[in-house]
Amino acid sequence: EVQLVQSGAEVKKPGESLKISCKASGYIFTDNWIAWVRQMPGIGLEWMGIVYPGDSETKYSPSFQGQVSISADKSINTAYLQWASVKASDSAIYYCARRNYGSGSWNFFDYWGQGTLLTVSS
């Protein structure tokens, strides 16, 4: 069974660094890209970026380029979303999602993590 299990909720102060995780199981981790999606309170989904664990290639939305870092460690089947310095406006739920692979179609997200709530407050 495919599962994406994300790290727990975080409470941070502005300026602190943070790395949240998404641990995959039930499939070959290096076969599928993993994306990160932001959902601010009461707002819709925003595609942030994506990583290919096979070679760590990453792509970012222009809105998030330079604001976050996305990475993956294939030795432990885990993808990461990282901030060097969080801001109050980063408060949101963050989801990881697996890009489908195989069956001739791969441009959608078939499995999602449960979400990680980030609260940034002084």
Binding site: L45, E46, W47, I50, S61, Y95, N107, F108, F109, W112
Partner: protein, 110 residues
């Protein structure tokens, strides 16, 4: 601001059909056959409904159907049921392993 446009809300009576539109440009919706739709209930993670414009994901009711014409994709829910009350998001491939989501549409039963 999202590159895709969706109506903020759509409502219908039980048993009726509703359609949610998702309008983009030739750089996203119109340029690829890669529009997907997701359902999200409050407090839950999004769930894949439709991929590649019109293909239902595994286990999804045939009451959900997708289509596309030009730069606009559509999700139709027929035989509206109470469990269909949720937020619905479209997503489009935008080239080179990048994607965009629409702002979401809240479906409400009358």
């Amino acid at each position: 601001q999202s590159a895709l446009t969706q109506p903020a809300s759509v409502s219908g009576s039980p048993g009726q059909s509703i359609t949610i539109s998702c309008t983009g440009t030739s750089n996203d919706v119109g340029g690829y056959h890669y529009v997907s739709w997701y359902q999200q209930h409050p407090g839950k993670a999004p769930k894949l409904l439709i991929f590649d414009v019109l293909n239902r994901a595994a286990g999804i009711s045939n009451r959900f159907s997708g289509s596309k014409s030009g730069n606009t994709a559509s999700l139709t829910i027929s035989g509206l049921q109470a469990e269909d009350e949720a937020d619905y998001y479209c997503s489009s491939f935008t080239g080179s392993s990048t994607f965009v989501f629409g702002p979401g549409t809240t479906v409400t039963l009358l």
